[in-house]
């Protein structure tokens, strides 16, 4: 009981601080970019430069911006995910605690997989998702991982 309370406050504090730091970054690093659709905004972070450079050369440059693939296509969810990413990425960027080679978190992978379907559902209507089981859907990224930006 006591423990969990203490733990609770600890987390509270941690988040508080994090919010502060991240919040600062959020503004300074034009973190608001998470709320725009301009790829250049993503590239505000040097971390994202490679992806921006890749995207410029990708088959999708003229048809899809970062958020078309990395943010949900329904508004509410869109801003949720963006806020979530904006917060974490800002925090990690500031603390520097992120690997040199990034990995999409599972929730972002799902967002991207669904983004593919949003635009391509007709082309793939026969192959995926199979009518009956949605969770058994084929992964697009498995074969097309490089469409947004050639894997570095």
């Amino acid at each position: 009981m006591k423990a969990s309370v203490a733990k609770g406050t600890l987390i509270g504090v941690a988040v508080g601080v994090a919010m502060g730091v991240a919040g600062y970054t959020f503004l300074y690093a034009k973190g608001a970019s998470y709320l725009t659709n301009d790829p250049k905004a993503c590239a505000n972070c040097h971390v994202m430069n490679d992806y921006y450079d890749g995207w410029i050369k990708s088959s999708h440059r003229s048809v899809a911006v970062c958020n078309d693939c990395h943010a949900p296509h329904n508004l509410a969810a869109k801003y949720l995910v963006k806020a979530d990413n904006g917060f974490w990425h800002s925090l990690k960027f500031t603390t520097g605690r992120y690997p040199d080679n990034l990995h999409m978190r599972r929730i972002n992978r799902k967002v991207t997989e669904e983004a593919c379907l949003y635009c391509h559902q007709e082309v793939v209507s026969q192959i995926a998702p199979t009518p009956h089981t949605k969770e058994n859907m084929t992964s697009c990224i498995r074969c097309h991982g490089a469409v947004g930006h050639p894997q570095k």
């Binding site: 007709e122 082309v123 793939v124 026969q126 058994n136 084929t138 992964s139 498995r142 074969c143 050639p150």
Partner: protein, 426 residues
């Protein structure tokens, strides 16, 4: 552009006819799925690659064998195979395999049928047996399977009409993939049990991606006929590696035949594509048979799986280049580099085995006792199974390059040690 896609795209499938488990004839399925059916029919094409595909050789039809075209004989390509298989039907006739369209006639008319009475079991992987099995079993697949195994090949042959067709891989209502071969269901159950998974039911548990491999693994696997009931069994109870399968055969003391020249109790490995593939990097990376042998293709507004099942080297752009951005010619060269290396070791292992067989034969004719020959003969059994495991596997090592080379290296060691053993005994 996207908008147009949207127009064309209304209802991908044309539901012209009702399909049920009894609909064996692919032409009927073709009414609903014309694209897949057209590709499916193209498995009659015969084109040769360095180690795969097949060559269309004309022949004059006979009473016994009405085929006017067959694939090249592997026995003529490499006569050492006759020595390796001396005393077994394979030494009479063994050809390069070709497309699915031929599976039933090639099995019916191979000379291997004429030298030995084959059991109905053979039919499992060469015809559409799902309907017939259900019929024979009165709705019980396993019962039907057992009945068919117990028949003679001739009788079982009368029960079937088509090579593998839609119904063998697809559930007719949803078109979902499904496993229809008891041999595979039981093999997987034994395999999973050895890994601590109880009562594994492939049709319930396998993911969609796994099914894209498993439907092929119903047939492209090592097998043997168990007991007098000639049950079709996949020897996976200890695992899928060649070492584990040999251990299984040794434990159940199975032999396919006694070698005519050496008297060794030997085994014939057959098309262990699934087992070999499982040792490779592609399996480990979740790449399925269908990814390479049935790659997606764009037809009109839709992507479909290419049902013209064949060598990916005839379709590198679709089969490989979505994952590998290298030029087609470079990808072909990568495959050939792997295959040439495997072929080099395959020949080294083959020479070693032939040397051992000749030595044992000579010792035998010079009156060596069975006691004295026991050890050398066991070396032959091992060497031969390991060599045949790569020889019979149809990718010439591509499915698992390093594993194929390891298995061949072990084979060489067994053969040569057998020769030394023999000389020291004398």
């Amino acid at each position: 552009n996207i908008l147009e896609h949207k127009q064309e795209a209304k209802n991908p499938f044309f539901h012209v006819v009702e399909l049920t488990d009894d609909t064996v004839d692919p032409e009927v399925w073709g009414k609903n799925f014309p694209i897949q059916y057209d590709d499916y029919k193209r498995t009659v094409d015969q084109v040769r690659t360095r180690y795969g595909g097949s060559e269309a050789l004309p022949r004059t039809p006979t009473q016994a064998d009405p085929r006017s075209i067959v694939a090249q004989s592997r026995l003529e390509d490499d006569p050492r195979l006759k020595i390796m298989w001396a005393g077994y039907a394979f030494s009479k006739d063994f050809r390069e395999e070709r497309g699915h369209a031929f599976m039933l006639e090639d099995q019916t008319y191979t000379e291997r049928q004429q030298v030995v009475k084959q059991p109905g079991t053979c039919i499992q992987c060469h015809a559409s047996v799902y309907g017939p099995s259900m019929r024979l079993g009165g709705g019980d697949l396993i019962k039907g399977f057992e009945k068919m195994n117990a028949m003679t090949y001739a009788d079982a042959r009368k029960e079937v009409t088509h090579p593998v067709t839609c119904v063998d891989c697809h559930e007719p209502k949803t078109m979902q993939l499904r496993i229809t071969r008891p041999g595979f269901m039981e093999g997987m159950k034994a395999l999973k049990a050895s890994q601590g998974v109880k009562d594994y039911d492939v049709n319930k548990i396998a993911t969609r991606q796994e099914m894209r491999t498993y439907v092929c693994a119903q047939c492209h696997v090592e097998y043997y006929f168990k007991g007098t009931e000639k049950r079709l069994v996949y020897p996976w109870a200890k695992g899928l590696k060649v070492d584990e399968m040999l251990a299984y055969y040794d434990e159940v003391q199975h032999k396919d035949w006694v070698h005519a020249e050496s008297g060794a109790p030997v085994l014939k490995a057959q098309h262990p594509e699934f087992e070999m593939y499982n040792q490779g990097i592609h399996a480990r990376s979740g790449v399925a048979c269908a990814d390479c042998h049935m790659p997606y293709k764009r037809v009109g507004a839709h992507k479909v799986s290419d049902h013209h099942v064949r060598s990916p080297l005839m379709n590198i752009n679709r089969a490989c280049q979505t994952c590998h951005k290298w030029p087609e010619e470079e990808l072909r060269q990568r495959v050939l580099t792997i295959q040439d290396r495997t072929y080099e070791m395959r020949n080294v292992a083959m020479d070693a085995l032939i040397d051992l067989i000749k030595d044992i034969k000579a010792a035998k004719t010079n009156g060596a006792s069975d006691a004295l020959l026991a050890a050398p003969r066991d070396f032959q059994r091992k060497a031969q199974f390991y060599l045949d495991f790569v020889e019979a596997e149809n990718s010439m090592g591509f499915h698992a390059p390093q594993e194929a080379a390891r298995v061949l290296g072990q084979s060489v060691n067994f053969s040569r040690k057998g020769q030394v053993e023999l000389r020291d005994k004398k």
